[in-house]
């Protein structure tokens, strides 16, 4: 991409260094190359740990790194860019108001209809048909800039849809300040906090009334930009919501929370405008009726859903004339020279020298430019043929030669081409630029502009203060934002649901580890006794009842086959692996609700455990089982750590309540089912030895062997054993303990007067009834052998209560189905 003479950001053109680089360079040199390289590695690790990259590899392939060397901008340079980009934002606002209003720019041919009508982002539902709209379209704007050999910054892409990336800029600064604090010494670098406060205040000012709130609308944790959504929502102290959390009642928009509906007046939109209303726009995901709520004045969406239409690359060709027509001014920050290929002469010009251009679809703002110079000859020809066939669908920009800036490389500093994204926000009166930005060090594969890539090396952007500038706060240090403490009532229902499932998955993981550990211990014995073989079969049955093993494997006779059955749980698509993924999925969705410490512990452990599972030797390798045994221990430790941290209140708001509720529910059910499974053996009623063996195993699985021995020495009798497992509410591994905990949690979760509060009482009664029945039976063994149906009933009752609570208090809004536009048969007249 670099041309013959790319401009060097550092050089002043006379063999010297630009003044605003000097301070930075001297700090860098005093650190030395080795230290810098080591800090670069540390930065990578920190980014991975903070979860900017995906929790589990391959899950959501976003891999951003931060180069330790920032890109400084002088005060004069920044001010010029701010003024120029503010002018562009103002121009785009006027264009939007015209395209969605009177459309004079189409009637007089100043914008070709080809850039508007076939543009997927021209949302007809956004048109102001009555001419009464006064609201702005744009509040956020970003521009992708490259600096050419002539020293002029030019815009290659205008970003008006979501203007993504500001959170990455915040994160770069925060982490750079922590990892390489030396760089910031004696530097007057503008801070970000005041700008973020302005955004927050401007959004609040748009609210129609006191009772409504601002929320950030995300496409959810599968969105590659999820990290940004989480961080931005936290920075601005607003709720992070998805379409499924929102509902319309009487023309107003509401967020479903634990305590009912909370009105939403402003949505900071972080998903495509095309997907926000499943009634009027694309069917599928979206809140049906959102467009009507906007028209009725009940809701503002920032930026307007239709605002992406002016991102069209082809529009750049007309911006200079439009600036003169609409503003009476020339563009202060020009576009990279661009042609819309609507005329034959232009098509010929471009095709004659395709390598001198970069090509984009004329109407697709998100598109990453295709660089013909980098294409093999035959692909270039195919591109030329496509352009020749439908020229009006393409825009060509003069191939840029981006300036270079120093980056930390393996063997010292190396110059790499840079692209700069700058962000602007409208504060109610004027456009202001974020005093920083997101710079990317480009390699051949990196897109020059458009949608942000999933892999990138980014740079912190410094805006240096002029002597006349007041720089607020301590220089170079980023004050961490205090977390907002939310009361559980305001917790969105989805978040409560996520916590509940996180609890359940964690517990399933733990139960699985417990069963597998017991199994592996036996398989590892050199020559298992007949009793151990029998126990293995019982364990195998328990494992298959929780999906940890294939029921058919229980027919297996050899120890080797049982071992393979156990190891399968850790292999790809094995139950333990899937559970780790499920835990990671919930953690990812909850990251705005977990403290940083808890989040790091969770993500680090999840990664380590997944790694360990991946590295598990083959079944034939004798070390495989020992490794698997170590894994079960690690999982149990992980589980204990999470429980401990959660109890230390490291979960924001009411989250812990739901996490606990999920864990206790899962554990209570597991105890009852597992005991039923263990006792459920052929001929148990007539062979007391089997019942005894089963109870011994049950005590082991509940980690209660030592407690039992302490109380009753070695004599194993059904009633005392069952008491310990089922009815003793002092045994933290027993059922009664879980049930009592559930009862307490219900008191906190459900509303007063709800009969659900007492739903646990009959179950507690049943646990002591079971023990009493066995105790008073003349044949304790036989009575015990008949317990499985009662135990399964108990488990069923627990599950029913959990379902009722979740349905009443924290399930999501009902699932939506589209009518009339999905696969319906055409019924037409002849």
């Amino acid at each position: 991409m670099t041309g013959p003479h790319p401009l060097d950001e550092m050089a002043d053109g006379n063999g010297g260094v630009k003044p605003h680089w000097r301070g930075l360079l001297s700090s860098m040199f005093s650190l030395g190359h080795e230290v810098l390289a080591q800090r670069a590695r540390l930065l990578d690790e920190t980014f991975a740990e903070e979860g900017i990259t995906a929790i589990l590899p391959g899950e959501r392939a976003v891999n951003w790194r931060c180069d330790p060397i920032p890109l400084p901008l002088s005060a004069a340079e920044f001010n010029a860019l701010e003024t120029g980009l503010a002018q562009r934002a103002a121009l785009l606002e006027l264009i939007l108001a015209d395209l969605y209003g009177p459309r004079t720019l189409l009637t007089d041919g100043r914008i070709p209809v080809d850039i508007v009508y076939p543009n997927q982002d021209f949302l007809r539902a956004c048109c102001d048909l009555t001419g009464t709209r006064r609201d702005r379209y744009l509040f956020f704007y970003a521009a992708d800039l490259l600096r050419g050999g002539d020293g002029i910054w030019r815009v290659l892409a205008d970003r008006t849809d979501e203007a993504q990336g500001i959170a990455y800029a915040l994160e770069n600064r925060r982490i750079l300040g922590r990892v390489v604090p030396e760089l910031f010494r004696n530097q007057r670098v503008h801070q970000f906090r005041p700008f973020m406060d302005i955004i927050g205040e401007s959004l609040q000012a748009l609210l129609p009334g006191d009772s409504a709130a601002v929320a950030l609308l995300s496409a959810g944790h599968a969105d590659p930009m999820w990290f940004e959504h989480v961080l931005l929502a936290r920075e601005l102290s607003i709720s992070l919501v998805e379409s499924g959390d929102l509902t319309l009642r009487n023309g107003q928009v509401y967020l479903k929370t634990l305590r009912g509906l909370q009105r939403i007046g402003v949505l900071l939109r972080r998903k495509s405008g095309r997907l926000i209303d499943s009634l009027e726009l694309a069917p599928g995901i979206g809140v049906p009726g959102l467009m009507e709520a906007i028209r009725g004045g009940a809701l503002r969406i920032i930026n307007d859903p239709g605002s992406a239409v002016v991102e069209a690359p082809g529009l750049a060709a007309f911006l200079p004339q439009l600036a003169r027509h609409l503003l009476g001014e020339d563009l202060l920050v020009p576009s990279q020279a661009t042609l819309w290929l609507g005329e034959q002469a232009m098509v010929r010009t471009v095709l004659r020298d395709l390598e001198g251009w970069v090509i984009r679809p004329a109407t697709e703002g998100d598109a990453v430019p295709v660089v013909p110079m980098q294409l093999p000859a035959e692909e270039r020809e195919r591109l030329a043929a496509r352009i020749a066939a439908r020229p009006t669908e393409y825009a060509a920009s003069v191939a840029p030669h981006p300036s270079v800036a120093p980056c930390a490389g393996p063997s010292g500093l190396e110059p790499r081409p840079v692209a700069l994204r700058m962000f602007l926000a409208f504060d109610g009166q004027r456009w202001r630029a974020f005093p920083g930005g997101l710079a990317r060090a480009l390699s051949e594969e990196d897109g020059l502009a458009g949608r942000l890539p999933r892999n990138a090396v980014s740079k912190d952007v410094w805006v240096l203060a002029d002597d006349s500038d007041a720089v607020e706060g301590a220089l170079g240090l980023f004050t961490p934002t205090l977390a907002i403490r939310r009361t559980s009532g305001d917790l969105p229902s989805r978040v409560a649901d996520n916590f509940y499932w996180l609890g359940r998955y964690l517990e399933r993981l733990e139960e699985g580890a417990r069963l597998l550990r017991a199994m592996i211990a036996r398989v590892l014995r050199p020559s298992p006794t007949a009793r151990e073989m029998a126990e293995m079969h019982v364990l195998m049955a328990s494992l298959s009842s929780v999906g940890m093993a294939d029921p058919e494997e229980n027919g297996a006779v050899g120890v080797g086959m049982l071992a393979s059955g156990v190891l399968r749980a850790f292999r790809a698509n094995g139950r333990m692996r899937l559970l780790l993924d499920s835990v990671a999925g919930q953690v990812d969705q909850l990251r705005d609700r977990l403290t940083g410490e808890l989040y790091s512990v969770l993500t680090r452990s999840l990664r380590d455990m997944t790694d360990a599972m991946r590295r598990l030797p083959a079944d034939t390798d004798p070390r495989a089982l020992e490794r698997a045994a170590m894994l079960t221990t690690e999982i149990l430790e992980f589980s204990a750590t999470v429980a401990g941290l959660a109890a230390e209140n490291m979960v924001r708001g009411g989250g812990r309540l739901f996490l606990d509720f999920g864990r206790r529910t899962e554990r209570a059910q597991a105890i009852a089912t597992e005991l039923a499974e263990v006792l459920d053996q052929p001929q148990a009623a007539t062979q007391p030895g089997r019942v005894e063996a089963a109870l011994r195993l049950a005590l082991e699985l509940r980690d209660s062997v030592i407690t039992y021995r302490a109380r009753y020495l070695a004599v194993l009798q059904p009633a005392p054993a069952l008491d310990l497992i089922l009815a003793d509410d002092g045994n933290p591994r027993g059922l009664a303990f879980q049930l009592s905990a559930l009862r307490l949690l219900l008191h906190q979760i459900v509303e007063e007067g709800d009969p659900l509060v007492r739903a646990i009482d009959p179950m507690l009664q049943e646990t002591s009834d079971i023990v009493q029945d066995v105790m008073q039976s003349p044949d304790q063994m036989a009575t015990t052998a008949r317990l499985p149906p009662r135990l399964r009933q108990l488990s069923q009752s627990i599950s029913e209560v959990a379902d009722q609570v979740s349905r009443r208090y924290f399930t999501l809004l009902p699932i939506a189905h589209s009518l009339g536009l999905e696969n319906e048969e055409f019924r037409g007249a002849a």
Partner: protein, 292 residues
Amino acid sequence: MRYRVRHISRYGYGTPVDLAAHMVHLRPRPRSFQSVVSEKLVTSPMAARRRDGVDYFGNPVTWLFLDQPHADFEVTAESVVDVEFPTPPPSGETLPWEDVAQAARLPVAWQEAEFRFGTPMAPLNDSTRDFARPSFAPGRPVLEALVDLTSRIFKEFRFKAGVTSISTPVSQVMHRREGVCQDFTHVMISALRGLGLPARYTSGYIRTRPPPGQPRRQGADQSHAWVGAWLGPAHGWVDLDPTNGVVVKDEHVLLGWGRDYSDVSPVRGVILGGGGDHWLSVSVDLEPEPVG
């Protein structure tokens, strides 16, 4: 002609639905050649919120929001209209079709231009364009060519209900040469756009005649669709019905138009909760009424 139209759509849901939102294009669009004498739209259960408005293309549209659980939903639209589509100019006097395509690219035709671009249900497609070619000999007056294409689709495509759905692409209809009015309309629109001519999707009703000697069956009529084609700046739009091979005159009632079916689908909705296996039954009656 004066017609009375009754269009009933009934949704039944396997389990009750908690919330529902509907957007319906069921009220006839008033035009110089079509006056709406009376109209009413009622639903059962009654909507908690209703708004009558106009969509981007100027068609009447109604939004309906229901927020009480309901197991079925019925929309009844009734209207009385006087309609007589304008007689098109003598086809020999219309512009050569290439000139119309050229005119459609000029800024003066900025509104008509909207209908010359492909859309998801009526995309630009080589097979539809190639099918149309024989009707569009160089220099042929546009209306002559359009009427020829209309009657070719009528003759060469078989009307067959139940073989196509909303997701059937025009290329498949083109290939199998069968479908219903919506399909033939999309095929013709796709073909015309491929030639650079603006063409729009028109939604409405058509009068049907029972077989000789039999009475008209109640509710047996259907929604209908046909093509609006642009003849150039002087003559404007003409309505052509490829399903019946005719120029639209006085047996059609207009609801509205758009780029394709999805812009003017008579009923569109989203239901939340419940639903299960839902079904839709439609009953349409279009009956001539004596005037006065």
